[in-house]
Amino acid sequence: MSAAPEVASGGTLAGYNFAYLDEDTKRMIRRALLKAVAVPGHQVPFGSREMPLPYGWGTGGIQVTASVIGPDDTLKVIDQGADDTTNAVSIRRFFARVAGVATTERTADATVIQTRHRIPETPLREGQILVYQVPMPEPLFRLEPRVAETRRLHALGDYGLMHVKLYEDIARRGEVEISYNYPVMVNGRYLMSPSPIPAFDNPKMDRMPALQLFGAGREKRIYAVPPYTSVRSLDFEDHPFRPGRADASCALCGSRETYLDEVVTDDRGGRRFLCSDTDYCAERRADR
């Protein structure tokens, strides 16, 4: 690029509508969102647009965020819990330029949080919106390849198949072998993929005061969990759901409760564990 992009009044890029998407598209997405909120956990089709980033980088989440964000909102974007990785930085900068909204890295200060594969450690409160980026919205897709058939199973609430998968895991390896994207029942009705968040985060979804929205750009699906909705991880009575976590403490803040990333430090087996939520970790260190 030779010249710097033209900047309009209010600090946003000239030639673009507020938050990049045109108003008709946003309205279409909001209609899908309203339906999704009305039927918790149900996947609503929507006309996903081409976005200026590749599929798999958060095209679904970015469209949902663009449709719900307003000029007064404060946006936080995390990628695997971190505020400072490529995906998080570029999406945050994208909205700063095309919507001129304030951005933050602090969970408590944000009104809209777009996330890839984590729920922040700091508990969310009423009025906040958590937007998930979803690669594959269909929880049954590895078990039933026919999309039409999965829709029928959802319509009839016929989820024995998912339990067969859990049964097989326990029969073969003694425990359920799903460490992320662990399937949940929403409001006792719809089986839902929580997006690839670690199973550790599943309990945070249950009766969360914040609104949770899910966008899958390539698969063209939107779904939602309204505030204070029951979200239950599937399990057996005698093999209850156990959220997994590395048995270690954070090398920086010392936390033994948070979800940890394992970082390999050399080629002789050296490793250490760090909080995956960088904001939470930094706050804990600042408090000390």
Binding site: L156, E168, A171, E237
Partner: protein, 258 residues
């Protein structure tokens, strides 16, 4: 056997183009009764089974099923949700090819457990115990519970399919040539097993077969079909020992003696 039929069909018509697969067929099945539908290939027996089980809608006619609570369910009007519920609770299906009725990539225990989990069983130990018990009942070593059915012999697969079907104790089982494709000695053992289980559980069974020996061994009553019409029906021994219709006479006389 109680007084009210468990399954009742009347005036069934079904055409495939110019071919009449079903032509004014009526049928009743009472609880605990094994009814065999006998006929050559293309006589409409499999079409009849599909219509009775709600898989195919007839051009005309009605099918009623009386459920465990005594409520009469109109099979083709009840809707897909009601039919699916019936199919996983009160009905069972044993297919000719076990690959159609089993999940080959899921262990034997998981196959048997699937129906239990579909009706809400959520205790892993309980599901496993029930699966082991049923494997034993169909003469499969429970030690093979975690093996995949694709490693089983044809006869074992068929027995596994029967265990999977019967584990939720259905009231009515549809069987389509359950012994087809098995060799004679395996067939004999399987028939023995089915007969014992059916008597034990007091199941009503609708059995489709072209094999007169199978019908004689299992069925209380026979329905003989030809070109979509029921040409003769009655008690098994009566029909086979004293066939009235010329077609039944032909069928009976063309059995090869060993």
């Amino acid at each position: 056997m109680s007084d009210a039929p468990i399954l009742e069909a009347s005036g069934l018509h079904l055409r495939f183009g110019s071919v009449a697969a079903l032509d004014e067929v009526a049928l009743r099945v009472w609880p605990g009764e094994v009814v065999a539908i006998l006929g050559e290939s293309g006589s409409g027996k499999t079409s009849l089974l599909r219509v009775l089980s709600g898989t195919v809608a007839p051009d005309a006619g009605e099918v009623f099923y009386r459920d465990a609570a005594g409520v009469l369910v109109p099979v083709h009007v009840a809707g897909e949700a009601a039919l699916r519920r019936l199919a996983r609770t009160e009905w069972g299906f044993v297919h000719q090819n076990p690959r159609d009725g089993l999940r080959l990539g899921v262990s034997a225990g998981g196959n048997v457990g699937e129906r239990l989990m579909a009706v809400g069983a959520r205790h892993y130990g309980g599901i496993r115990a029930a699966a082991a018990e049923w494997l034993r009942r169909v003469e499969i070593d429970p030690a093979r519970m975690d093996d995949l059915p694709r490693d089983f012999s044809g006869g074992m697969q068929q027995r596994l399919q029967i265990a999977r079907t019967l584990v939720t104790r259905p009231r009515l089982v549809f069987m389509d040539e359950p012994t087809g494709g098995l060799d004679v000695s395996v067939q004999a053992r399987l028939l023995d097993l089915i007969r014992a289980l059916v008597a034990d559980l007091g199941l009503a069974v609708l059995l489709v077969t072209h094999d007169i020996a199978v019908a004689r061994l299992l069925a209380h009553r026979l329905v003989v079909m030809r070109r979509g019409r029921v040409v003769e029906h009655g008690l098994t021994d009566r029909v086979l020992d004293d066939p009235q219709h010329e077609y039944t006479q032909l069928l009976v006389s063309s059995v090869l003696a060993a």
